[in-house]
């Protein structure tokens, strides 16, 4: 508990610093600030990774079994997604929004009540390991590292969430930039944004990552439910909200096929989609009763 808390505190500070560095880079447009920000985001990623590893050691299972642990996974996935994107497209302005978001996520995780945080052994319904993997790893004596549907289900779902989070940020940037472009004139801060066309495209690309991962998450959840309870779909609030989210993003993807729905309308759909994700993730756990009450 102590060690993972230590890394949590580190990460908390790192994300704040990283966000500030990206803001500095955005406002002052200094190359060294940008480079330091990128380096810092990698340090923060390392620290977040350590939270997950240490946490797994402390609890004896993959750290995906309560709200706090899943938050750490979420923060981790968003950071990985962002770094990959920055490396590929070289736009550092996104970092301002992504890292500020990461910091807020860390803040909200730290404010969670204790019962959502403590490292607990897995209850019967959450114990699931793939036989083939246990068999394979037991040959070299590492069977306790085998994973199962729980791990796969949570991991893929959160990659999806991370994609949607980044896409939502990009869509908001698009809306700001688009308005500035329509109005014309110069804006000291918005000029640093990539063109709205590019933001629109990038937002689409991240959803194109998130959408299949959410689908894999839903399907693996169904496979697992079929093992644990004997039905693959029971219209539990979490299941239903995941489907609602999926419908919204499906609408987004189809909307892009027609020209008229690109740009603004697509951006609004993307923001609406992420609002649904937030409710799916937090709202359902806190407000609506159901099978996913633990996370």
């Amino acid at each position: 508990m102590i060690l993972s808390l230590l890394f949590f505190t580190f990460s908390f500070v790192f994300y704040l610093l990283t966000a500030l560095l990206y803001v500095g880079n955005w406002v002052f447009k200094k190359k060294w600030l940008g480079q330091t920000a990128t380096a810092m985001s990698i340090v923060a990623l390392f620290s977040t990774t350590m939270i997950l590893i240490v946490r797994a050691k402390e609890s004896g299972h993959a750290p995906f079994s309560n709200l706090y642990e899943s938050m750490m996974l979420f923060v981790w996935a968003v950071n990985v997604g962002y770094i990959a994107m920055e490396y590929k497209y070289k736009f550092k302005v996104m970092g301002v929004f992504v890292m500020a978001f990461e910091f807020l996520a860390m803040l909200s995780a730290s404010l969670l009540p204790y019962k959502f945080k403590s490292a607990e052994p897995l209850n019967p319904a959450l114990q699931n390991k793939w036989h083939w993997m246990v068999d394979l790893l037991s040959k070299i004596g590492y069977e306790k590292y085998a994973i199962g549907w729980l791990d796969f289900h949570v991991f893929t779902t959160f990659i999806g969430y991370a994609g949607f989070a980044i896409s939502c940020g990009l869509s908001i940037m698009f809306l700001l930039k688009n308005r500035a472009e329509e109005k014309g004139g110069n804006n000291f801060l918005l000029d640093a944004f990539p063109e709205s066309k590019i933001l629109d495209e990038l937002s689409y690309r991240t959803i194109a990552w998130g959408f299949p991962f959410l689908a894999v998450g839903i399907v693996s959840g169904a496979v697992w439910a079929n093992y644990a309870w004997g039905t693959y779909w029971s219209w539990d609030p979490k299941e239903t909200w995941s489907l609602i989210t999926w419908f919204i993003y499906a609408a987004y993807l189809h909307a892009r096929v027609t020209r008229g729905w690109r740009g603004k309308k697509a951006a609004y759909l993307s923001v609406a989609g992420f609002a649904a994700v937030i409710f799916l993730y937090w709202g359902v756990s806190f407000i609506l009763p159901g099978l996913h009450a633990y996370a």
Binding site: W224, W229, V284
Partner: protein, 469 residues
Amino acid sequence: MATGEKIWYKNKLWYFFNSLKLTLGVLITLAVVSIIGTVIEQNQQWPMYVARYGATWAKVIKTLRLYDMYHAKWFLFLLALLTLNIIVCTFERFPPKWKSLLKHKPSKYDPQSFTRIIENCSQNHSVNFSGGKSAAKERVLSALKKKKFNVVEYDGDGSLGMYAWKGAIGRLGSDFTHISLLLILLGAIVGSFSGYKDFKIINVGDTVDVPYNEFKVRLDKFWIDYYESGQIRQFNSMLTVVENGKDVLTKQIWVNEPLYYKGVRFYQSSYGQSWSKIEEAGIGIVNRKTGEAIGEPITIKWDEMLPVPGTKYSMKLVAYSADLGIDEQTKTVFSQSQDPNNPAVGLEIYENGKQVKEALLLLKYPGVFQALPTSDKDLVLTGYRGIMYSGVSLNNDPGTNIVWAGSIVMGIGFFFAFFVFHRKVWVNISETGGSCQVKFGGIINKNNLLFEKELQDIADGVNNSGSKS
């Protein structure tokens, strides 16, 4: 079929189902209305809705079937609309797409039309190459091959043409995904019309019938594993499949680990102390008049026959009830609840191998019913050792495999749709004097940013002048 001829089914209705607006409308409607069922608790008792929402709203809930919304006709109607939409769109779009994928290569080379296509491409480059036509051709070919393009070459008078492509299969991603959704829906429909669900309480040692099947299932053992901290780790049942009187398969099941046999799955879903069976009972022999105990109590196992010492009788333990109740009409005993509020055992009393009486012994009220017909002795229940039962869910759903097949197709579809991009590139090389002008342009179905970079790489690969194109 002559072009322009009207095909019989292509009427207004067909185009209604072919429209993308319908897709967007239905998807967004589904997303919005699905929220209702997560806010209003589903499948509760009627009074709950009245108490929580008031009589008026409860009536609305009843009329619109909002208490079981996802099976309501209007919700299924929306799903049916989406299904028809998918089917019609696939019929409308797939055949021409398939044709264009099969016949995508230009049949002949015409430098002018090639140049025109290149200039119309959103991405195009013009690079100068110092060297001959064939050298330029080799250079372009290697640049394209490096990017894993398929290439066909065309020869013309004074100029060369090339057509390159890759990732054509990505075009089919959306069709795979749409077909996968239909498969999943088909699986759900098959599951709801055939197949069955059941729930069995099985006492340890008992065998139960499996509905619609010849085989039976026996519970050999039930146990709970604990963590060192005392928290429950797992519930386990050892099940044996009995077919034609023979044990054919024994498997330990737990939550997350069902037993599968001949299309039926058996899931661990609950457990408890049995209210209708025990492992053994302690029977004391007492003086009927004084109630004084005579000797030590005898331990008798379930279904075991033992002599009653000092009498001509034998007894056999055949029944148990945790909370004894008597049905006035049928005069039979049963258990009023699962809790041991009034434990009682039933004994059969035998004399010379013939049953003479059925005796009922109550733990809390010894001596209320006489156990032995003619004797100065009587029997009392001094204690018992209970057994566990395991609650096992049975499920046979032939639709499940269709759903999984659909899921796999969906995975393939997503991969093609989101990660494989169809790219087409046209190249025109014309030689003037000692140098060549290489013009090329291309289109991609998605992901323009990626393509822009790719074509720039090709341009850089061809360019040997040292200056940026």
